[in-house]
């Protein structure tokens, strides 16, 4: 080992340690920012020390690429609005996957002398990277409504997919036994096609699962590329990201009471129309009248959903929270794991609106004491508060853990109309006696209540 390789590898050890410590500090909101800082320092020293590599003879392209990449990254991070975080994460998943795919690609162009195992690993890097890239682009298009967000299913899809898997296996075998320079285009083409086919039939409520899964893939792609080029730090960092994505995917699936395979392969079963009829009538209420109930309330629970993000109602909600607190009421937020389009989406929006993080409660913390709340305000959430999941056997979402908002003394639902949620299921909550529908734009309705308080 030459001196420079020794220094580089020793620094990688320090860097790996800092990545791990950074993630450890991310375990609490108070230390999380420091954790992110440590992680970025780990990255910085890894990059700087890598530049000592003896095989680098020209810095021209490196400099151009790093400067251009930094500018793009800076602009993205600076100007993204918090409601668009799912789109940004999706896009970055894809960019990471493509970077790993290109790295694996340039590795085989630079050197064709590999063992079969090494070729198989390079193949994995190409495949996972390609799938991550094209899959993330489709997910991004769905999230940003550049294409229809519903699952896309067509006749013969299963056979097409089987054929594709067969193609991937055959190409993998061929690539591993004999490296042919034209074969790589086929491999990349197959990988890209596969990414598209995997994400097309998934949509709607399952988007948080897809984003988490692609997040994991982007790490695994880096990991595979690391094994291919024999770089320890790529393996460690990639594995950390891969593990993180897998854990989040598991949490999302559990929160929807669905297995990963049913998310990936079956789409949402919209055809099973519930034959259960819901008794009762919907009772609308004006935002002005809602104020009188809120004024008398001692405790209020807010359940946000994707609709809050769409209406940008988080700031108005925070304003109402302050008024309620000044009026002597306790206000907490109950957040379902799959509320919004990605894990933790609602928490970020509320943090942006300056809501203290200790008021953001998880479903399991809030459910045991739901009965004690005078008012539950549901903003743009639907399936995550649907009591059918609890007591209507045969409902497509039966068994999914939900926030039992219907057990609160009064329930206000802020909603545009009577449309159903992602799952396409009617919500018996709206027909309950203690429930009042406040129709209209959520932000407008909240502002009306705020005005009433000020008078």
């Amino acid at each position: 080992m030459s001196d420079s390789t020794l220094i580089i590898n020793a620094t990688y050890v320090v860097s790996a340690m800092l990545f791990i410590l950074g993630l450890k500090l991310l375990g609490h909101p108070a230390s999380a920012r420091k954790g992110n800082m440590l992680s970025s320092i780990a990255m910085l020293i890894a990059i700087v020390v890598t530049l000592l590599d003896n095989s680098i003879i020209s810095f021209q392209w490196i400099l151009v690429a790093i400067i251009a990449g930094s500018i793009v990254g800076l602009l993205l991070a600076r100007f993204v609005v918090m409601t668009k975080m799912p789109e940004l994460v999706s896009l970055l998943n894809g960019v990471g996957g493509l970077a790993s795919m290109l790295l694996a690609w340039s590795t085989v162009v630079e050197n064709t002398d590999f063992t079969t195992i090494e070729r198989a690993v390079i193949y994995c890097a190409l495949l996972i990277g390609g799938i991550t890239f094209s899959g993330s682009v489709v997910a991004w298009a769905k999230l940003s409504e550049r294409m229809v967000g519903r699952p896309i299913v067509f006749a013969g899809q299963m056979y097409a997919n089987l054929l594709l898997v067969l193609g991937v296996v055959v190409a993998g075998y061929l690539f591993s036994v004999q490296l042919d320079s034209t074969l790589i285009y086929l491999v990349i083409g197959l990988a890209l096609l596969m990414g598209i086919m995997v994400v097309l039939p998934i949509g709607g409520a399952d988007m948080p699962v897809v984003i988490s899964l692609l997040n994991s893939y982007s790490g695994l792609a880096a990991c595979a590329a690391g094994i291919a080029i024999g770089n320890n730090l790529l393996i460690v960092a990639g594995a950390l990201v891969g593990a993180s994505g897998i854990i989040l995917t598991g949490i999302m699936c559990k929160a929807m009471n669905r297995s990963l395979s049913s998310v990936l392969f079956s789409g949402f079963k919209s055809v099973t129309k519930s034959e259960i009829t819901i008794e009762g009538e919907v009772s609308p209420l004006s935002a002005e009248d809602a104020f009188y109930v809120l004024e008398a309330a001692q405790s209020v629970m807010v359940v946000p959903g994707y609709g809050m993000a769409v209406a940008q109602a988080q700031h108005a909600m925070k304003e109402l929270q302050d008024l309620l607190e000044n009026n002597g009421a306790e206000v907490v937020y109950a957040i379902h794991p799959v509320a919004g389009r990605m894990p933790g989406h609602m928490n970020v929006l509320l943090a942006e609106a300056d809501v203290s993080y200790d008021l953001l409660l998880e479903m399991d913390e809030v459910n045991p004491r739901v009965e004690s709340f005078d008012v539950a305000i549901i903003i743009g959430a639907n399936d995550v508060v649907n009591p059918a999941a609890r007591d209507m056997e045969g409902s497509p979402i039966y068994g999914m853990p939900v926030i039992n908002a219907d057990l609160a003394k009064n329930v206000f639902v802020l909603k545009r109309g009577m449309s159903s949620g992602f799952a396409g299921v009617d919500n018996p909550l709206f027909f309950k006696e203690n429930c009042r529908m406040i129709f209209g734009d959520a932000k407008e309705s909240l502002n009306t209540m705020i005005r009433q308080f000020s008078n």
């Binding site: 993630l23 991310l26 375990g27 920012r33 992110n36 970025s40 990255m43 990059i47 890598t50 590599d53 095989s55 003879i57 810095f59 490196i62 151009v64 690429a65 790093i66 990449g69 793009v72 990254g73 993205l76 991070a77 918090m82 975080m85 940004l88 994460v89 970055l92 970077a99 790993s100 290109l102 790295l103 340039s106 162009v109 630079e110 050197n111 988490s212 997040n215 982007s218 790490g219 880096a222 690391g226 094994i227 770089n231 320890n232 594995a239 950390l240 990201v241 593990a243 993180s244 994505g245 854990i247 794991p337 990605m342 894990p343 933790g344 970020v348 943090a351 942006e352 200790d358 953001l360």
Partner: protein, 91 residues
Amino acid sequence: MDTISLLFILMLSIFVGFELIRKIPATLHTPLMSGANAISGITVIGALALAGGSGGDYVTVLSAFSVFLATINVVGGYLVTDRMLAMFKKK
């Protein structure tokens, strides 16, 4: 290093990852994901040597583009994560 010892490192890292990430509260899951985006930009260090090496134009173009993309992840990921985490306050 031979592939088997690399797989050892992989196995251990995955276990460390699982143990660490399990402890991260739901409220921080979005910053966790964007932070993970940044970490997956580690690909940059693999691509650097190839982008500055003597592998020919084809290799340089591919790997320099890889450096570019990975840098977007690193810079964009860390900055947006920091921007989010700065908003999490306790009053």
